[in-house]
Symmetry: none
């Protein structure tokens, strides 16, 4: 039996409130350079400590042993969706990151402006890394001139530097397609094609991409240096059962950055717009407490400073976060999980595969006799080391949402 | 999606050096008889201690909870091959253990000399446990007289006591076959037959076994007490993707005992012959450092003394091993894993199911705040308890051999 179906059959409605608080990239490593402490260990965290003294801890494998996830797989796991089963294409993730409100079936592509020579050969895949403003102007121009390709709507959104996204919204579309990108200089732009030659929907999508090129390329042909563009990671937004359908939970997202809002939207969460700081996010959580059953609250700065390898800043971000926790606890959720979507160790300056620590607090979590919430402490916790996709199941269990299995 | 395929897609080439050092049967139990210490805990191990102070620890389930592995499954797991999926027949393991250089498709059988009465009934399955020298003489005789069976080459190699192996090397052969062994006295030798009646290759193999019996039995019919023989565990060497094919790693084996060389050869490792002690193996590792990416270094004596239930000798073997570690560290591998293929607790005088401790050291392993490498310490480590088959994935991750999964 499919394990998701199994859980679904056991699910019973309750009035419990669940909160998942994600400190992005929270997990870290104790290395000699850092005095053998992680930022979480080095930080002063009186409020997390107080929660640790009534909670259970463990560590979570985001995807599979040794696998480093991007933000997409990292969060899908936390939401209970197996990140290997639910693979979301790069174009879709990029579009979500730029705040495009994708719909199921939309085909999205990551795009670069590039430089072509007179024969159509790509001479610079990044058009000399043109400024964001130039990309914004070019995207506005293309948006004015190209509204549709075939019977599909075309949506163009600028990103940073030479990057943008193109979305095709219509009926009967599907990815993934092969790249309209030679992936190196000195070659012409290849035609995007179906990855499955038998897919009628992929063929139609490829035809739309070709039409889009025919319409759009002439518009910028005389521009310098950005007189062409490349599309890659061309994929459709898959239809995914929502959090409410899977778990019976009305879910809300309190995130600041578009990528995380997009990922939450992908699984049917209601985006609550407005808050710009974790204090504001927590205040809004308190205000919305009665309207939802599950809150996803995202804090970005632990990851950002981990990516920079800035130990002190990551530690400070944790302390800043900790200071705002009393706001959340004004309306204490019945089940509170505090964790990361993956580790972003300062020593690696990037995401990593190391299991992230998780702290779970409820009336039924028990206490693991740990005085603080840290990576080393979490190694000793009652939750053990487990795959992230089971976190929601543990949260549901603590919310008494599962009936007994068998007599 | 198949998880091995998933990992393959993420794999990127690096110049990292990986070393897997196996102290055979390392894991043990703390029992009252042993002062509640394991040999690893009781031993003085300054060099392992130093590695523990920069490494991550955990415990590994060799096959599945509660399952005691032989050396074959134990090592296949360490090499990243699921031991339940990659089952290697007993005949093959036995042949590897006797140093036969098997080829893919070879069918190998474990053999016993036995005693038959005038009617062909097995009266002693072990022919009175004849001496190794007698078996060697009988095998030499059979080798002189029987070179082939049908179109297949026959290879006969003596083992200890009444034991030997028979290998059939030819085209279109396959196991497993049913035993030509009644498995108790008082019955005639059954005919080996296909386990899958539809397999043409198994039928051919069974016919070759029958032909071999027709040729070989008359040669020893007048001998006493060994006037017959039994064949069991008749299996073929499966075609297995090599370590290089699976992981992109040029792999070398530094082992002293034939069984471990054979297992390494089964997965395509290059056997480096010569070294007879762990110090010599480490010296050779240093000499070969530039020529391979992955080194499997095998130390037998922890298992041997565990099998004898000799606590002091197992402890001493660990100390002897520890003293040689500085040789290995002259050329420090980027990723070093030190572990066992299973536990061989002195209290059990044999292999066991208890998860073996593992120590993983790299620039990205982090430190688990543990001062020593022991079973009890490993319980507290960041690697948690996991299946051995994932060790290679963690080693690859620490070698930075995996691309990020998803955006």
């Amino acid at each position: 039996m499919n394990l998701d179906d199994f859980y679904s059959k056991l699910t019973i409605p309750t009035k419990a409130k669940l909160a998942l608080v994600v400190l992005d990239g929270l997990g870290d490593l104790a290395t000699a350079e850092q005095g053998f402490l992680t930022p979480l260990e080095a930080a002063t965290t009186p409020n997390l400590d107080a929660l640790a003294r009534v909670g259970a801890q463990g560590r979570m494998i985001p995807v599979a042993p040794g696998v480093t996830p991007g933000s997409g797989p990292g969060h899908l796991g936390l939401f209970g969706y197996d990140p290997i089963e639910y693979q979301v294409g790069r174009g879709v993730i990029e579009a979500l990151g730029l705040g495009v409100e994708l719909q199921a079936g939309d085909v999205a592509a990551r795009a670069n402006f590039c430089t072509l020579d007179a024969k159509g050969i790509v001479t610079d895949r990044r058009a000399g890394r043109i400024a964001t403003e130039v990309t914004e102007e070019l995207c506005a121009l293309l948006t004015r001139k190209v509204k549709t390709a075939g019977d599909a709507e075309v949506i163009i959104r600028p990103g940073k530097g030479h990057r943008f996204v193109v979305i095709f919204r219509g009926k009967g579309l599907e990815g993934p397609l092969t790249d309209a990108d030679p992936n190196r200089e000195g070659l012409p732009i290849p035609t995007a094609g179906p990855t499955n030659p038998k897919s009628v929907k992929q063929k139609k999508s490829a035809a739309l991409v070709a039409q889009f090129y025919q319409q759009a390329l002439p518009i910028i042909a005389r521009r310098k240096p950005a007189n062409g563009f490349l599309l890659r990671g061309i994929a459709h937004q898959p239809a995914i059962a929502t959090v409410e359908e899977r778990y019976g939970l009305r879910a809300a997202c309190l995130a600041v950055y578009p990528m995380y809002k997009g990922l939450a939207q992908l699984v049917g969460m209601k985006k609550i717009e407005g808050p710009q700081t974790i204090a504001e996010q927590f205040r809004r959580y308190v205000a919305e407490y009665d309207h939802f059953d599950y809150f996803f609250i995202h804090f970005k700065y632990t990851d950002m400073h981990g990516e920079d390898g800035n130990f002190e800043a990551k530690k400070k971000a944790i302390e800043d976060f900790d200071a705002t926790l009393p706001i959340l606890l004004e309306k204490r959720p019945d089940v509170l999980a505090i964790t990361g979507d993956h580790s972003t160790p300062c020593a690696l300056k990037g995401h990593s595969w190391h299991p992230q620590p998780v702290l779970l607090v409820s009336a039924y979590s028990g206490w693991d006799k740990l005085e603080r919430f840290t990576e080393t402490g979490a190694n000793l916790g009652s939750l053990g080391v487990f795959e992230s996709k089971y976190l929601i199941r543990l949260m549901q269990a603590n919310a008494r949402m599962f009936d007994k299995f068998g007599a």
